[in-house]
C-alpha cells in the first residue's frame, strides 16, 4: 500500500477494527488475530491468457475513432475486432438511404485497410433498397468483408430480408443483427414506451427467421445491451442457428453462466460493442472452464468465419 501501511499490517489492523466494532456492543465474539490475506490474483495475467476476437465492434465517423478502438484493443489484449458501422439513426432525423449505406461501408473498408491485421469488416444494409442491397453485398464481399451487421430499418423476419438472408446463406456468412427485449420493445408486457425504433427486431423475430431459414446463421446482438438476457437465452434455447454475442454495457453477474447453461458453449461469442471492460470482465468472472472461456473469447467466432473462408490462424 501507499501511505506507509504495509499489506500484512493493513490486514491485521482492518480485522482488529472490524472485529472490534462488531464486538463492541454485542456478544459477537470475533477473533482479532492476524490472519493471512487471500492469495494474490493476477487479473491482467488472466486477461492476457486468452486470445480474443471481438464479435461486435464498431467504428464511427468521429476523427480518430478507429484508432481509439484499436487502443482499447491493445490495452486489453484483443487480437481482432469484427467492425461494422450500422446506421443507427438515434435522433430519427438522420439519413438512412443507400448513399449513407455506402458511406458507412466505405468507412469500414478504410479501417480494414488501415489496420489489416486487426480489423475484420462487416457490412451494413438498408433492406428497403432491395436491388442496391444485393449489389452492395457483392461489392463489400469482393473487398474482403466477412459478415453482416443490420440495425432497425427492417425487422429480421420481414420478407424484405428474405433475399438478403438467402444471399448470406450462399456466402456462408453470419448475420449480426441488432435486437432488443425490454419493457416497451416486445418480448413481454408492453406497458412502457422505451423510445425504440418500431422495426427493432425482438427475440421472437429472430426465432421466426431462424425457423424459416434453418441453414442461416443469426447472431443476436449484445445480450448485455440492456435487454432481458434471461428471456432471450430461454427463448433461443431450441434454435441452434441463433447465436448470441455477450457485448453491451450491462455486465450482470451470472449472465454468461446462464447463457451457456441454456445455449451451450458453442453459441456464445465474446463481444464488446464498445464496452471493452465489461465484455472481458463478465467472461473472466464466470464459472466457465478455461476451455470454455477460450472458445467464447476466440474459437467459436473464428469457426463461424471459417465457413465463409474469413477465419484467422
Amino acid at each position: 500500500m501507499s501511505n506507509g501501511i504495509n499489506r500484512r499490517r493493513f490486514i491485521s489492523d482492518t480485522m482488529l477494527s472490524a472485529a472490534g466494532i462488531l464486538a463492541a456492543g454485542s456478544q459477537a465474539g470475533c477473533s482479532s488475530g492476524q490472519v493471512a490475506g487471500p492469495p494474490a490474483y493476477s487479473l491482467m495475467g488472466e486477461v492476457k491468457k486468452y486470445r480474443k476476437m471481438d464479435a461486435h465492434a464498431h467504428v464511427d465517423f468521429d476523427p480518430g475513432d478507429i484508432e481509439k478502438q484499436i487502443d482499447f484493443a491493445d490495452r486489453l489484449g484483443i487480437d481482432k475486432l469484427c467492425v461494422s458501422r450500422p446506421i443507427t439513426n438515434f435522433s430519427g432525423n438522420e439519413p438512412e438511404d443507400q448513399e449513407e449505406v455506402i458511406r458507412s461501408n466505405n468507412l469500414v473498408l478504410k479501417a480494414m485497410k488501415q489496420f489489416p491485421n486487426r480489423v475484420i469488416g462487416f457490412l451494413t444494409l438498408n433492406p428497403i433498397y432491395r436491388k442496391e442491397s444485393l449489389e452492395e453485398i457483392d461489392r463489400c464481399v469482393e473487398m474482403g468483408m466477412a459478415g453482416y451487421k443490420g440495425y432497425t430499418q427492417v425487422k429480421i423476419n420481414d420478407p424484405l430480408y428474405y433475399p438478403i438472408i438467402e444471399k448470406f446463406i450462399d456466402l456462408k456468412m453470419i448475420m449480426l443483427m441488432h435486437g432488443f427485449c425490454q419493457l416497451g420493445v416486445g418480448g413481454y408486457r408492453m406497458k412502457y414506451d422505451a423510445g425504440m425504433a418500431p422495426n427493432t427486431s425482438i427475440p421472437e423475430d429472430f426465432v421466426d427467421a431462424a425457423k424459416r431459414y434453418p441453414e442461416g446463421m443469426f447472431q443476436f446482438a449484445h445480450i448485455g445491451g440492456g435487454a432481458d438476457w434471461e428471456y432471450e437465452c430461454k427463448l433461443f434455447k431450441d434454435y441452434p442457428n441463433i447465436y448470441v454475442d455477450t457485448s453491451g454495457s450491462n455486465n450482470e453477474e451470472n449472465m454468461i453462466d446462464f447463457a451457456v447453461r441454456h445455449l451451450g458453449e458453442d453459441r456464445l461469442f465474446y463481444g464488446s460493442d464498445g464496452s471493452y471492460y465489461q465484455g472481458i470482465g463478465k467472461i473472466l468472472a464466470s464459472d466457465l472452464t478455461e476451455t470454455q472461456k477460450k472458445k467464447i473469447f476466440f474459437d467459436n467466432y473464428n469457426n463461424i468465419l471459417k465457413k465463409g473462408g474469413h477465419h484467422v490462424t
Binding site: D13, I21, Q278
Partner: protein
C-alpha cells in the same frame, strides 16, 4: 491489496442472484484476492422497516470469524420511517456498522428531505461515509414492478450542497457524469469516493485527470454486477495514466482512509 467498497448480500426480488451470502462473498473475495469488503443487505432496499435487514446482516456476519474478519457492514437507513434515529444509533453503536447507505428512490423521499439531511449530518458527526448508488440495476431490463428512474451524477449534488463536510461514496456511476464547472468543483472539494463498478468508469483515465487519484476506489457492485469488471478498470490503467502508488490508493488506500482503518 484490494478493498471493495461496494458489495451486497441478500436478494433482488426480480432475479435470482448468485454469491449473495456473506460466506459466498468471502469465497469470492478469496478467489480474486480481495481482502476486505464493505457490504450491505439488499433486502433493506425492499423492507419497509430497513432495520430488519441490518439485523440480518449483523447476525450473518457474526456467525463466523472468517466473515467478521473480512466484511465491513454499512447500515441501510430510511430516514422517513419510524424509529430511524434509533436504527442509526443501534446500527452504529451496537452492531458496529461503519457507514450508511441511502436509497431515496426506492424509499420514496428526496435527497434534500429534512430527515435525510439530518441523517447525513449525524453520519458526518461520526465521520461515517454516506453511500449513494446511482442505480442498482440497469433499468432497461428491469422488472415491470421495478423503478424506471436512475440517477445521473448531477442529481447527488443537492445533498452535498446541504452537508458539504460529510464523507460520501458515490457508487455504480452508470449514467452521465457531465457537470458544469461549479458542480465539478463541489465534488473536487468534497471528501468523496467514486467506486469503479459503474459503466461510466470506462472513462477512468479521463476522470482521474479531472478529479485526481484520491477520489476513486475499487468497487464491484457484487453480486449484481460481475466481480471483475470494476477491478479490470484499475488494473488495465497504463503506467503513464497512473503510477503504482496511485493505483494502490485506488485499490485500497483511499477506501481505507475514508473508513478510518
Amino acid at each position: 491489496m484490494l478493498l471493495d467498497i461496494n458489495s451486497y448480500v441478500g436478494h433482488w426480488p426480480f432475479k435470482q442472484l448468485k454469491y449473495n451470502t456473506c460466506a459466498s462473498l468471502v469465497d469470492r473475495m478469496d478467489k480474486y484476492g480481495v481482502e476486505i469488503s464493505v457490504v450491505s443487505n439488499l433486502n433493506g432496499i425492499f423492507y419497509k422497516n430497513t432495520q430488519s435487514a441490518n439485523e440480518e446482516l449483523y447476525q450473518e456476519i457474526r456467525s463466523e470469524t472468517r466473515l467478521s474478519n473480512r466484511l465491513i457492514p454499512f447500515a441501510i437507513i430510511n430516514p422517513i420511517y419510524a424509529g430511524w434515529q434509533s436504527d442509526f444509533e443501534i446500527s452504529i453503536e451496537k452492531m458496529g456498522m461503519k457507514g450508511i447507505r441511502l436509497y431515496p428512490l426506492y424509499h420514496d423521499y428526496e435527497l434534500t428531505d429534512p430527515s435525510c439531511i439530518e441523517l447525513v449530518k449525524m453520519a458526518r458527526d461520526r465521520k461515517l461515509p454516506v453511500a449513494l448508488s446511482l442505480r442498482i440495476v440497469d433499468s432497461r431490463q428491469r422488472s415491470w414492478m421495478d423503478l424506471e428512474k436512475e440517477w445521473a451524477l448531477k442529481e447527488i449534488i443537492p445533498i452535498i450542497r446541504e452537508v458539504p463536510d460529510a464523507r460520501y461514496c458515490i457508487l455504480n456511476v452508470a449514467n452521465s457524469t457531465t457537470l458544469n464547472e461549479e458542480e465539478t468543483e463541489i465534488l473536487k472539494n468534497t471528501d468523496l469516493l467514486f467506486d469503479t463498478s459503474g459503466r461510466s468508469m470506462n472513462e477512468l483515465p479521463e476522470l482521474l485527470r479531472i478529479y485526481g487519484e484520491n477520489k476513486f476506489a475499487f468497487g464491484t457492485h457484487s453480486p449484481i454486477l460481475d466481480y471483475l469488471t470494476g477491478l479490470l478498470r484499475i488494473e488495465a490503467l497504463r503506467e503513464k495514466e497512473v503510477d503504482e502508488e496511485s493505483r494502490e490508493l485506488i485499490r485500497s488506500g483511499n477506501a481505507g482512509r475514508m473508513l478510518g482503518i
